[in-house]
Amino acid sequence: MEYEVIVVGGGHAGCEAALACARKGHKTLLVTGNINNIADMPCNPSIGGSAKGIVVREIDALGGEMGKVADRSHIQIKMLNNGKGPAVRALRSQADKQVYPKEMLKVLENQDNLEILEAIVEDLIVDNDTISGIILENNKKITSEIVILTTGTYLRPSIMVGDTRRNEGPHGEKPSLYLSKNLAKLGFEIIRLKTGTPQRIKKDTIDFSKAKIENGDNCFHTFSHYQKPQYKIEDQVPCHLIYTTEETRKIIQENLNKSSMYGGLDDIEGVGPRYCPSIEDKIVRFSDKEKHQLFLEPESRYTDSIYIQGFSTSMPYDVQDQLVKSLPGLKNAKILKYAYAIEYDAIYPTQLKPSLETKKINNLFTAGQINGTSGYEEAAGQGLIAGINASLKLEGKDPLILKRDEAYIGVLIDDLVTKGVRDPYRLLTSRAEYRLLLRHDNADLRLTEYGYQVGLIDEDRYTFFKNKKAKIQELENKLIKYRINPTKEINNYLLEINSTKLKDGSTLYDLLKRPEINIEKLSKFIEIDYDLEIIEQVEINNKYEGYINKVKKEAQKMSNLDNKFIPEDIDYNKIHNLASEAKQKLNEIRPTSVGQALRISGINPSDISILMVYLKKEYNNDRK
């Protein structure tokens, strides 16, 4: 074999997958259609956001790259949901579309064991249901033990504007026209999905005085747990908020049938994302809403391109001209790049194991948009896991499968492989039933251990992490051990800080549970010389203890079921008592654990009972 791993696609999933394999010492080849488009951001110029920001933290804790590169390249960053509770806080950054890809390319080029090749992949070499390499457009074969497909929207893409259709990738790039057909030949179920992107406007043709300014935060943030801030607060670039007008609505209603999606084209198969409707969808579906919110987001410090978030459309160019001019402050706007809708092929993700290896073809992994997701962060998270599991497989080890109470990445992958997708999948905090455990602030505490075990977190960083953990424990112990009594002096102090008198003795830890008390106020009693991160961690655990324990208890129940593994060779047809619907579902998904089986829609608790009895009978003869 020429390589141990070949990664096909240089987007956010491909970068993480290739880096993970190479860093674990495996000879890796990254194949991309255009080296200058590595880590490209074809849609919105931002990294992070609700739930997604936490994914970036998780990638960092596991030893991935996205957080570090985002920290080095953003032009604005802020913490979302600050007042809504610790579990839903998340970072959102305006990424610089010029700098981010360059920084990522640098990392890839400086990585040992990693080569980059510019080429289009059209077929796979498969023998006996096992992959052994790829076939390029020019029929050249390259062999490898493992192949990871991270092809994004480049599988048979079609860009749609009005009544026209072009078979090319986002920047007019050359797509792979046959790879998805060849995947279908191998027996994969291929689905067609759709997404879209708005116009880019020349900055100096916008009158920003008509818009509301949106600045970054006035304090420092980093995605990475192990990197100091690398920007100046005052250098951040603002975004702007505007609203559509009555004129916008009129233009859309008058031209609706010209939109590709509303009659312009009659051969659309792709299913678009519910969370990302085009502006014509919004006007049609929410006709009672008089205006819709739009953000003007700068794409880079080094270009004059402004992205209109919320204005995605597949109207023809002339209608788009009118639409843009109907917006406040954009009367004289010049469009640099028109909006479009794009259709592309993906594989139905229940054909994957939770390790992201395909069930049909051994040693073939897939990650990112090819699995039906949307979003840079969702792609990177999968890429990292696919890379880690490809490496573990080469090393003969068990895959890393993150549980739903351990990481958003775990929720994402479990949803994909257990439930499949109807439309491009975006992570939302509401998809995570244990989200109180999956916080921005504790991503490193949840996942660094895994990152270290798989070999992507080095000793220095691991020591740093262990120190942090020890400090948290130390502070907590101090608070638990220190008792105060209701003396006059102490009660006076409590009244002074707007609290109430003590009646009985109390530990500082219990005192901290009062809503008006924070750790800083306890420094009257004990010396508190800790980083803010550590103080925050202790406060969150203390103040929300009841809620956290409640969620943990729920999670523990599911975790026990997730630890009951189902043998790969199980024959569901042999379980006579199982309802035929359950048999069919179980055969289709082939869950790896009883927990996963329970999460399949249409499987009910009595099916699980029967399954457990069968497992005991067939596979566990430990009679007492």
């Binding site: 849609c43 919105n44 609700s50 739930a51 979302l80 949901n81 007042g83 809504k84 509770g85 610790p86 579990a87 839903v88 992107t197 708005p198 908020l241 609203y243 969370y275 990302c276 409707p277 085009s278 969808d281 919004k282 579906r285 819709h292 919110q293 953000f295 978030q309 919320g310 995605s312 939302l428 905090t429 509401s430 998809r431 039933e433 989200r435 109180l436 809503p515 929300y544 809620y547 409640k550 969620v551 129940k557 026990n560 079921l561 006579h576 008592n577 829609s601 608790p605 009595s606 699980i608 009972s609 029967i610 457990m612 009895v613 069968y614 005991k616 009978k617 003869n621 430990d622 009679r623």
Partner: protein, 452 residues
Amino acid sequence: MMEDTITAISTALGVGAISIIRVSGNDSIKIVNNLTKNKKLIDVPSHTIHYEHILDNEKLIDEVLISIMRAPKTFTREDIVEINAHGGITTTNRILELLLRNGCRLAEPGEFTKRAFLNGRIDLTQAEGVMDLINSKTEKARDLAINQIDGKVSNLIKNLRSEIIKVLANIEVNIDYPEYEDIEQVTNKHILDKIEDIKNQIKKILKESENGKLIKEGIATSIIGRPNVGKSSLLNKLIGEDKAIVTEIEGTTRDIVEGTINLDGILLNIVDTAGIRKTDDIVEKIGVRKSIELIDKSDLILYVLNNNEKITDDDLEILTKLEYKNHIVIINKNDLENNLDISKISSKNIIKTSITNDKGIEELKEKIKELFNLEQIDTDDMSYLTNARSVAILKDTLNSVEEVKKGLNNDLPIDMIEINIKEIWNLLGEIIGETYQEELIDQLFSQFCLGK
């Protein structure tokens, strides 16, 4: 699943004088112990039987015998407790409800046997039989649930859930799309108003289910009054007219039911009929104190006065006790001269009758129906909620409502508060068998306009 402590009534309901409630799992002894008067079961030897009182907040529910069997020498190889109850359907259900509210989960069909099998108690060759059992019992339970689900109560719960999910979706959208300034932000006050409303609705459902229980199990009714006011005439009239059968039926420890009157499909269980029938001077015989005792254990009191006589102090004392109970004051013998000062009676439920002349009986029946809100309840609909599990879940829901209020008072972030609101939504879903997760996300995108 296997870690939960499970419980179920093991004997057929309504048959036999004793019913057995079985509890299995790690916490079974602890949970049952907490419900007993003496709380001494934790350290008793295995395979022993104990006489105890089951209490609900100090209130006696039943005298029982409790068998303690510790793992592994039990049917499920887990700690098992069996409660032998004596009180008939009502009491047995009440004990089950108590267990469910104190940490037990209702066993799934065939679950005791399943556990016995999984824990190695049953031979592996019997696996097929165990699976068959789960299968057949589930089918039966499903049929039952489907028959019961399509009623007024389940509609009430569905409506309530759809209101809650709108609030949830709004909270979620605030969290997942914080940059949307044109979407309403859910405030504490908004939630507080909503939660009060939810609380009232749940209480209403609970009340209706209590009424439903009364309808199904009978309304414990006592007829009280001084001698010669017409108590036995009233009883005979009710019996005679409605062709009710007075039989010895299985009673409860709470009520000494001696006769049942079927009043247009509503069962009135008459307490102490014997007293009325044998003699007509109950008050003289039993006195005010005994009357008050009777009042306490009745769901409905019919207090009979004689229009022809003055009200006595005893009458007035008893009448004040009636204020907080479902009661009807019957002023009988209206064909005779009026000597009774009606202004001394503060009750609003007064019916004037002349029982021997058949006057006022219809009004009395109407009044009874009105008191128990029977016009508005279709008795068939209530059956679903009358089972202990649903009532226990509804009461849990009320706890979550209180948690939400507590959280709001402590100014906790919306994210924490939402945990309890979601809990309410899930609990209500459990009652009607809907716990579909995607529902919330669907709601999110249909209710709000979001996108790039």
